[in-house]
Amino acid sequence: MVEKPVMVKLKRIERENERHRTYYFEFDKASKAKPGQFLMVWLPEIDEKPISLSKISEKEIGITVQCKGKWSESICSIPEGKQIGVRGPYGNGYSTEGIKSAIIVAGGCGTAPIRPLVDKCIADGIETRLVMGAQNKSGLLFESEMKEKLGDNLYITTDDGSAGTKGFTTTVLGEQIAKEKPEMVFSCGPEIMLKAVLGMCEKAGVKCQLSLERYMRCGFGVCGQCAMNELLICKDGPIFSGEVLAKSSEFGNIARLKSGLEVSLKEYADWRQC
């Protein structure tokens, strides 16, 4: 298989909340993907973007997107039965090998790749707690599904208190680590949250695996666009261990725009929003 898009038919579109949609399709190449891996998703004449897998199974593959920005607005207007282009899966994915207990921290859109990770953890018999946060109740993803799968091991936070505990995921993470130290913390979400997660894990002496994002072009490690220091997010990552990230001067600080210009993470995040 060469690294060019394959057109797949959208079998089913689920409306998760006001802003998020999950698209289901068949793509054999991704049926054995690891949680945390991603696809490059092509909308002809619009754009192509890296999107992590939110459902991995023999039967179907799912991606969850937020209907915001030109590419996302376009995908949100595509009806069932129409086609999109996909290539991949790319990246390394989370590693659950040899782990007996884990806390997973998901922030906002970062909940998408966490969904198959929860499935994997349960399948591997890992004692799993999930801390899931969003700005408000309507931003939460897969809430009832997670409740069903994890029961009392699901902890919800919202910035405004409209659901779960008012506050940040990291506050609950701190409490949970204090209650019982897990072997591993997995996380995906805004980089500012990931930086805080790393700080807490370092302090508590817990290992972690964090999922990062940068503007990408090829997705398979040749163009260098997504570089963070000497690391390629698309190929060396997008999942990195806390030990690796602790050595990176750019993690939590600097990212590159489309031109390659280095800017602050805040400026990058503002640009990625549109």
Partner: protein, 301 residues
């Protein structure tokens, strides 16, 4: 395996081609650590440029096709990268582009103070309108750019990168040599070409057209380097489709003193340089060749 390329010492003849991985200093240093004899920083332009939208880099059955479109932070925003390159273990080639002689001059002035080992003059990009191969398809305009850059570069070596699209690549190389070029780099990606998706009924690259690289273009690269070797006496950095040690040796036999690789990193990883250098050494041992330089241009009559 050490060689000297227009006065620059390299630990082996392999060079990271421009536009692959070379977006920042740390990645370039990683490639040098992974075995590249020299590394090329992605082409730098006169001002910040976004490049094309995605899809920009794709694979097809016999190589890659790309229309990245020369994104660049602009030479004024590169100070941090240059500073970090001071301790790079291999020589650094800095590639530059412009849409006019004046722009080439401006970029050269902007980077010359950082003293790269070689300035690569990109006059051969197949996927931009203004900054692309228009300079590299004509012997006079190619020479004008080389002369202008060379005047500002001072003691720093200058090396135009040529396009296989020119119908007289040897003549262009000769004209560049007369204009003061210290070396010739050939070839840039072929084309442009295009990919179409039958199901989508659309071109796949956002720019529609893009430069073709990889194993499929090796015969054309060999022919170009062969012809250039006959026309000039300055050294050639040969590239186009080199993926293994034998490919590299064939390229040297056509007339290249050093060999560039880009697409090979997709097939073999970032350590492609070490792998290829080891394979070249193995070939030399098997064929009782002591000095790799003996092979340069041996296929010529």
């Amino acid at each position: 395996m050490e060689i000297e390329f227009c006065g620059i010492k390299m630990k082996n003849p392999t060079v990271l081609a421009s536009g692959i991985l070379g977006v920042n200093a740390e990645l370039l240093k990683r490639v040098a650590r992974e075995g590249a004899g020299a590394v090329t920083m992605k082409s730098i332009g006169p001002k910040e440029k976004q490049g094309h939208s995605n899809p920009t880099v794709l694979e097809w059955e016999h190589g890659l096709i790309n229309a990245v479109g020369l994104p660049s932070p602009g030479y004024k925003n590169m100070e941090n990268e240059f500073k970090q390159l001071e301790d790079c273990e291999s020589p650094v080639i800095v590639s530059i582009y412009g849409a006019s002689i004046e722009e080439f001059e401006k970029v050269t002035e902007g980077i010359v103070g950082y003293e790269p080992s070689i300035i690569e003059i990109n006059i051969s990009c197949p996927n931009t309108k203004k900054e692309g191969q228009i300079f590299g398809c004509n012997a006079e305009t190619a020479a004008e750019v080389v002369e202008a850059v060379n005047k500002i570069a001072g003691k720093i070596k200058v090396m135009p990168k040529l396009t296989p699209q020119a119908n007289n690549i040897a003549e262009i190389a000769r004209s560049c040599e007369k204009a003061g070029a210290n070396a010739i780099c050939a070839i840039n990606t072929l084309g442009p070409g295009m990919l179409i998706d039958a199901d989508a009924r659309k071109p796949v690259l956002a720019n529609k057209f893009g430069g073709v690289s990889g194993p499929a273009i090796k015969p054309i690269a060999l022919r170009c380097v062969y012809q250039i070797y006959e026309a000039v006496s300055i050294p050639i950095l040969g590239m186009g489709g080199i993926t293994n040690g034998t490919d590299a040796i064939e390229m040297m036999m056509a007339g290249a003193t050093a060999v560039g690789m880009g697409t090979a990193t997709h097939y073999r990883g970032i350590n492609a340089f070490k792998l290829v250098a080891d394979e070249m050494q193995h070939w030399m041992k098997e064929h009782n060749v002591e000095n790799i330089g003996e092979l340069v241009g041996v296929v010529h009559d």
